[in-house]
Amino acid sequence: METVTEKRNETQLKRMKSKVDLADLGPVLALLILIIIGSILSPVFLTKGNLLNILTQISVLGLGAIGMTYVVIGRFFDLSVAGMLSLSAVLIVGFQPFLGTIGAIFAVILVALVVGLINGSILRFIKGDFGASIMITFGTGTILASLALLYTGGFTLNPERDTVFTWFGNGSFLGIPAPIVTLIFFSIILHVVLKYTTFGRAIYLTGANHEAARLSGIPIHRIRTITFMIVAVLVSIGGLIRSSQTLNASPVVGVGFELDVIAAVAIGGTSLAGGAGNISRTLVGVLIIGVLNNVFVLMGLSNYDQMMAKGLIIVAALLLDRRKELKLVRKG
């Protein structure tokens, strides 16, 4: 009797493993197919210049998405990234005359930390769940976006083009454009922290089962607040890159950014139900969005077509995610 159940368990385990693996591979396969399509459609696609171009374009999105991955694994959501991007893009430039470029960068990071702290603290105060986090961060994000507009009066600001400032958007390191270097740098840090540290483990535990984690002595509120702070800081660095890339600071640069970020996380396969997902998946999601946009441009498609395609892909990704969840639930 015992051995029978054990055997059944084992086969079940194997079957589950193989299924999960397949679902994990989905986004990677999609990315490969996109790359193949791109290289067939356009001879330019696979050139070094175009590939670096794709990566440079997705770096800001990537920074937001890897940060958001932390928040989503902890079973929360952060819509305030859009407002944060706009505000940080203009504040960097606005602070430059007073604090110097490096001082301004640190000041904006400080602002981001405070924003994350506020988001987390409000949620703790109202004992908010997933749904509450959407509404709260929608609110705080709107406030941040309006602050950006109020601060500039709706105009774009002109930055001081010193070497530090221009490096982030236009410089390079070992021949690789600085935005890509920045994204790789933070991706590695976030990946290592998530996978190998107790803090990373605590994020997973918190997201998988709030109450069980709490009863096991994990400071769930602190963990979640820190994830909000991390995403805000990464987005503020994204704001710096954006302002540097365009050499002006627009107060509306973040409009729609939150949706792209969430799309990247979801397409990558990080479960919105919390407790699962990782940085590399999200990067795949970011790449898919980047390659897709690039292929569209090479094909000469309009913005509207792009929107349609992006929407369809998000829906497909969520359907896949849901199926996986259901399978687990049925097992339980």
Partner: protein, 487 residues
């Protein structure tokens, strides 16, 4: 009902039950927690289907595939947790989903008039336009009953209706029941409280361990007989003989613990190596005590003295650091992360122990997990198995293992054997025994009194949030516990 059987995986919830209810009577249904009362009533009201057996209603064989089915035949169940929609009016609730009127229009006049009619039958004058949220619990119950009547119910099942009512509201409920009976409605009344049974029921059926022990006329049955029927079985061999373990000094003292509306002045002590049982009926405050000590809930007054020092546990993390652990009643939702592997579950309460400078050391985690699997003889093919795939008993062991790994000195076990089959039960008992042998102390909460008596050194009996008495494990009998728990 004839020879009704129902099995759930691992448990036979109902075993060839026979229940005969006569028209126009109030039939009491008694039994300890887990005796199968609720399951039986779910079968009768169509919520679940029996594996075997037949139901005859008004001399006619019936089969219910859903609650709606049963409702149409005239059998309605009123659950302990009321099922009204708080934001809607009384009338809307009564006719929820079947308001009068044409396809596009609700005939409110008709609806309110009909609602008033049924409310009157229940013996109440509530305005049908009142929003349900604004009613008292007793009034909500009346609305539920009126709703039942609107289905032309001939048989109304009330599942512990008194649990949520106070003295005067209870009187109101009895009057309502009397009104119903006058109109020829039959009532099945489930309750733990013997006084109520005496007052309202004509006949009773006692259930125990999924079987019907017997049906009696209330007036001809003494209270002792009823208690004996409920408790029934002697302490059989299914419990291990406990080795006597020398008790150490006091490790925890709970002093005058008070939580508004839940606990009043609860005091007791726990010694090193002791198993202290906590007995009481549902709602007596057992779980609340556990959660207060563990810091999962706050309490209003009182203090905790742990290892000679007054402590403040503001959250579970603090409690775990101190060495206090709670193995919660709902292990699937609160004890485990079922979609995570065993090793992750084992270490989640003591991440510090498997890490260095904040980095998880995987080989240490695996080592510790293997050790725990062996120590508690958890049956699993691997430590990477997902917790969801384990049997209930083994899952319970995983939760215990988690807190053993966090070096707990006091383990509070809340219903550790609920929903666990007999074999796994014995293993859990062995685990508990090993715990105290190794100098840990156990606070054991259980609804299975025979189990409490077999395992505990002492038993504290609670009733409505107050300590009603303390029994020594060797002297206690289920009857003694029940007497204290009921009064």
């Amino acid at each position: 009902m004839k020879r009704i059987s129902k099995s759930f995986p691992g448990v036979k919830a109902l075993n060839e039950i026979e229940l005969e209810v006569r028209k126009g009577e109030v039939h009491g249904l008694l039994g300890a927690n887990g005796a199968g009362k609720s399951t039986l009533m779910k079968v009768l009201s169509g919520v679940i289907q029996p594996d075997e057996g037949e139901i005859y209603f008004k001399d006619e064989k019936v089969e219910f595939s859903s609650p709606l089915d049963a409702q149409q035949k005239g059998i309605v169940i009123i659950h302990q947790e009321l099922s009204l929609v708080p934001m809607l009016s009384v009338a809307e609730n009564i006719f929820l989903g079947r308001l009068y009127g044409s396809k596009y229009n609700v005939d409110w006049k008709e609806v309110h008039e009909k609602a008033k009619y049924y409310l009157k039958q229940v013996g109440t004058e509530i305005n049908p336009a009142t929003i349900v949220r604004d009613l008292s619990v007793a009034q909500m119950q009346q609305v539920e009953i009126a709703k039942a009547l609107s289905f032309n119910a001939d048989l109304i099942i009330m599942d512990e209706p008194s649990a949520v009512l106070s003295g005067s509201e209870l009187k109101q409920l009895f009057e309502t029941i009397e009104t119903l009976v006058e109109q020829g409605v039959t009532v099945i009344y489930i309750s733990h409280r013997l006084e109520e049974i005496d007052r309202i029921c004509n006949r009773i059926t006692i259930m125990r361990d999924g079987e019907a022990v017997g049906t009696r006329v209330v007036k001809e049955t003494s209270r002792e007989e009823i208690i004996k029927g409920i408790v029934g079985r002697d302490i059989e061999e299914e419990y291990p003989t406990m080795e006597t373990i020398e008790l150490g000094e006091e490790i925890l003292a709970v002093k005058n613990l008070t939580q508004k509306g839940k606990l009043r002045d609860v005091s007791f002590q726990l010694k090193k190596g002791e198993i202290l049982g906590i007995a009481g009926l549902v709602g007596a405050g057992r779980t609340e005590i556990a959660r207060c000590i563990f810091g999962a809930d706050k309490f209003d007054e009182g203090e905790l003295v742990y290892k000679g020092k007054k402590i403040k546990v503001s959250n579970p993390r603090k409690a775990i650091e101190l060495g206090i652990a709670l193995v919660p009643e709902d292990r699937k939702e609160h004890g485990l992360i079922t979609k995570f592997s065993l090793n992750r579950n084992f270490t989640m309460a003591a991440l510090k122990k498997i890490s260095k400078l904040g980095f998880v050391r995987w080989f240490k985690e695996n080592e510790a997990s293997k050790e725990l699997v062996q120590k508690l003889s958890i049956k699993t093919p691997s430590i990477h198995q997902l917790a969801v795939n384990l049997s209930g008993g083994n899952q319970q062991k995983v939760v215990v293992a988690k807190y053993l790994f966090s070096d707990a000195d006091i383990l509070i076990l809340d219903e550790p054997t609920r929903g666990v089959d007999v074999g796994a039960r014995r293993e859990i008992y062995t685990v508990i025994q090993d715990l105290v042998k190794n100098g840990k102390s156990v606070l054991l909460i259980s609804s299975d009194w025979a189990e409490l008596i077999a395992l505990s050194d002492r038993i504290v009996v609670l009733h409505e949030g107050k300590v009603k008495g303390e029994l020594s494990g060797s002297e206690a009998s289920p009857e003694m516990i029940l007497q204290k728990a009921l009064v």
